[in-house]
């Protein structure tokens, strides 16, 4: 069968085999690489279904891709085949305020959805740093989250229904607009975080949340990252749940200052950004409580004075991961070992061990992340033209992954496993991983959906 002709028949000009185009689809934001043989940009469920059926019949790998902002190679076709660029399926199909839900296509950009929801007084809370460009489909496939998940939960908590194309092209719905259901397996939850290995998401029904009336930001600096971690544990155990709780170690702080010298940030130390939201009164009260609890441990602590001050700090924080070359133009941040997580109580220990690893391998590192949910983004940076630094980098990343597992945590808190972390699945899950293999086999017996991922 002439696959090229068949694909062209389905999507017309939204098909490419140009070597340059294929190259652009051979990577995401991670270090994983893999060249596709075809790229198609479907615009309807029917097109996706026809493409997947064609691939299934001919045993050609199919890898779905959103904006390609993933950090684990999830959208990279490591076994070749077809890349489905889903970013053109980007319509918001329904805004159902009465049911506090929306129905969207997978290519809708997270920020774009929130721009549309704002006038209604609602928002879709999971907010990865890449919210300006990442797609909802990608967020669901990788159970993405971000700074506010400490209070609002991850993408998993907001999906009510998925329209999914299965490996043989069959189209199913996994849920409904119902708030609850006690009828059978929860396929919605199974599909979330499945990284395109069980089906291709073509529509999503999402719960939304009312926008809080007020937000406050407390900025606290500490003598060490470990001490900062202790302050966080103390805050939570005093009954405050911030809407964001971020750590920026001293290196990250310097990077942010270089990125935007006008930011109102502490002069030195390891910083925690505590955000609280609610009504004006409740947010104010929570902020005061945080100041009271953390003051004895902090070098400095203050409340952000204006909305703009807050917005500028959050905007810069979102981009800190990529901004490291502002500190040293010869260094590039490489996303490996960047997403580990541990139970909150273990965070100070993880911070200590991460520092040790960075020193042992003589690699400068930024430590930042969602400390309130135990998720640490360790940013190692190297001179990409230095082979030896690459070698040390990979060794350090391996060590950090194993440390997280040892501390009862996870190798990925929100970026996913993809092809970058598959080798740790057995160690993290033990016999449960065999159950995952069985599920994969049952739903994709020919192994055409995103092969080479999740360690499967």
């Amino acid at each position: 069968m002439d696959i090229t002709a068949e694909l062209r028949e389905i999507v017309g000009v939204r098909f490419s085999v140009s070597p340059s185009e294929l190259y652009c689809y051979s990577s995401d934001a991670s270090q994983v690489k893999g060249m596709p043989e075809y790229v198609v940009r479907p615009e309807s469920t029917e097109e996706v279904s026809r493409i997947v059926r064609l691939a299934y019949e001919n045993e050609i790998p199919v890898t779905a891709r959103g904006a390609g902002t993933g950090l684990a190679g999830g959208a990279v076709p490591v076994k070749g085949g077809i890349v489905l660029d889903m970013s053109g399926m980007n319509r918001i199909l329904e805004i159902d305020i009465d049911n506090i839900q929306v129905v969207v296509e997978p290519g809708v950009i997270q920020d774009a959805l929130n721009d549309v929801l704002k006038p209604y007084g609602f928002f879709f809370p999971p907010n990865p740093g890449s919210s300006a460009m990442c797609t909802i489909g990608g967020m669901i496939a990788y159970n993405a989250s971000g700074m506010r998940c400490v209070k609002y939960g991850t993408t998993r908590n907001y999906v009510r229904d998925l329209e999914v194309v299965l490996a043989d092209g069959t189209v199913i719905h996994t849920g409904s607009k119902m708030l609850k259901s006690a009828a059978g397996y929860d396929l919605t939850q199974l599909l979330i975080g499945s990284e395109g290995t069980l089906g291709i998401i073509t529509k999503a029904g999402l719960k939304i949340a009312p926008l809080p009336k007020a937000r406050k930001l407390v900025i606290a600096a500490f003598e060490s990252a470990e001490l900062a971690g202790k302050a966080v544990v103390k805050t939570f155990s005093n009954g405050v749940t911030p809407s964001a709780c971020e750590i920026l170690d001293r290196v990250s702080l310097q990077v942010l200052k270089r990125y935007d010298p006008k930011l109102v940030l502490p002069a030195e130390g390891d910083v925690i950004l505590f955000e609280v939201d609610g009504t004006e009164n409740s947010a104010h009260e929570a902020a005061e409580q945080i100041i009271e609890v953390c003051s004895p441990l902090a070098l400095s602590i203050k409340l952000a004075e204006s909305e703009k001050e807050m917005a500028d700090i959050w905007a810069a924080r979102k981009l800190v991961g990529a901004a490291v070359s502002r500190l040293d133009p010869t260094k590039t941040r490489i996303y490996v070992g960047e997403d580990v997580g541990v139970p909150m109580k273990q965070v100070p220990e993880l911070l200590r061990r991460a520092q040790e690893i960075s020193e042992e391998f003589n690699l400068p590192a930024m430590k930042y992340g969602h400390i309130g949910d135990g998720n640490l983004h360790l940013a190692l940076f190297i001179d990409v033209l230095d082979e030896d630094e690459w070698d040390r980098l990979n060794k350090a990343a391996d060590r950090i992954h194993r440390t997280a597992i040892e501390l009862g945590g996870t190798v990925s808190s929100e970026h996913g496993v993809g092809a970058a972390r598959g080798q740790y699945m057995e160690a993290q899950w033990g016999p449960a991983f065999e159950v995952m293999r069985t599920i994969k086999k049952a739903l994709d017996p020919k192994g055409v959906l995103n092969p080479g991922k999740l360690g499967l």
């Binding site: 340059s20 652009c24 790998p61 070749g80």
Partner: protein
């Protein structure tokens, strides 16, 4: 090669040399994907900045350059919004221009590029026009131009040949301040530099420098954003260059402009605004004349008109789509969309529909009458 594998090393195009660090600065985060105006209308990964950086990286790492890189590398308008947003501090327009220069050396160009090059190198202007560059100036005035002056008005190809009325109006204002014209101005070289013809550009820049020396000017004033950035940032000699809006803003007191009962909006030309941070001067001039109602995206976030980087000539359909998107940013209830670049005027007019697009000098001329 097996499916899924990347060709690691191959035959390097002997001539393909770019500063590797400028390319490796890109961490492929995709921030640019959310702002690249060309990607917005084309939709393929190769048509956004990250795609372009990846393709350039692949060429550096040994992929043989071929014509199939052109739909990616030749469609960048060099608007620079990606550079403004890049968290890693990369400067993609510079990298793209450097890559185009390398492709030119490897003999890989578009028809549009060649057309542009041929026009500029044979006629000294980007349209291939053969008539005098100063045809808009009555002969008597031409002969009476001061041979020496501290200030010279660099007219540019667009105002010389497509909008001579802009040139006329601009010169009418500038003459009051003793500004003269170059005896034999040629294209500023922007079209050549943006599209990779660096050697040809060098020759024409040297010609203009010689002209400037002849007049003895220490300051060059121009009403074209493309000429402005080129003269200011690309010429081998450091020149003092002032954009027309900056000059007008500086001399508002002398101009005695009358208030007009108009409401206008303003489009920031990429090469004046984002590339050179001239945001306030045009707004100051407009506010001295009438009411300014801003567009949806302004200053650093301003969207490209689609005309730059050789895209208008090479990919007119894409260029027009960009202009249409920019027109969507025009607020309700304005009399004019004002800008300060003739290339933006031309591209926006093509897409404007009911919106009337004018150059800032036209607004000033109305207020002088």
């Amino acid at each position: 090669m097996k499916a899924g594998e990347i060709k690691k090393a191959g035959k390097l195009c002997e001539n393909f040399e770019i500063d590797r660090r400028s390319v490796y600065k890109c961490v492929q985060c995709g921030t640019c994907r959310s702002v690249c105006p060309v990607f917005d209308v084309v939709g393929w990964e190769s048509a956004n900045t990250r795609g372009r950086m990846l393709i350039i990286k692949s060429l550096l790492e040994g992929r043989e350059p071929s014509e199939d890189v052109l739909p990616s590398l030749a469609t960048c308008t060099t608007c620079g919004i990606c550079a403004a947003k890049c968290p890693a501090g990369a400067n993609p327009p510079e990298v793209v221009e450097a890559a185009r220069a390398q492709l030119v050396k490897c003999g890989i160009t578009t028809e549009g590029q060649e057309k542009l090059r041929s026009a500029v190198t044979t006629s000294g202007n980007s349209f291939g026009e053969t008539k005098s560059r100063l045809h808009w100036l009555p002969e008597s005035e031409r002969l009476g131009l001061p041979e020496k002056s501290d200030y010279v008005y660099f007219v540019g190809c667009f105002d010389s040949y497509r909008y001579p009325e802009f040139a006329k109006k601009t010169f009418e204002v500038l003459q009051r301040f003793g500004v003269t014209l170059l005896p034999d101005e040629q294209c500023c070289a922007s079209p050549l530099l943006r599209t990779g013809f660096r050697e040809d550009a060098g020759r024409i820049m040297e010609h203009n420098l010689e002209q400037i020396r002849k007049v003895g000017a220490h300051t060059i004033i121009t009403g074209c954003a493309g000429c402005y950035t080129t003269l200011k940032n690309n010429y081998p000699e450091k020149l003092r260059v002032i954009s027309l809006p900056e000059f007008l803003a500086e001399h508002l007191g002398d101009l005695k402009l009358k208030r007009l009962p108009l409401t206008v909006t303003y489009h920031d030309p990429c090469h004046l605004g984002r590339h050179n941070k001239v945001y306030d001067a045009p707004r100051e001039v407009i506010k001295a004349i009438c009411t300014l109602k801003e567009m949806k995206n302004i200053k650093e976030n301003s969207r490209c008109c689609g005309g730059g980087g050789g895209v208008r000539i090479g990919y007119p359909d894409i260029s027009l789509e960009l202009a249409k998107k920019r027109i969507e940013d025009v607020p309700e209830g304005v009399d004019y969309l004002v800008t300060s670049c003739p290339l933006c005027v031309r591209n926006l007019r093509d897409a404007a529909g009911d919106v009337e697009v004018i150059d800032i000098v036209e607004l000033v001329a109305m207020a002088l009458e």
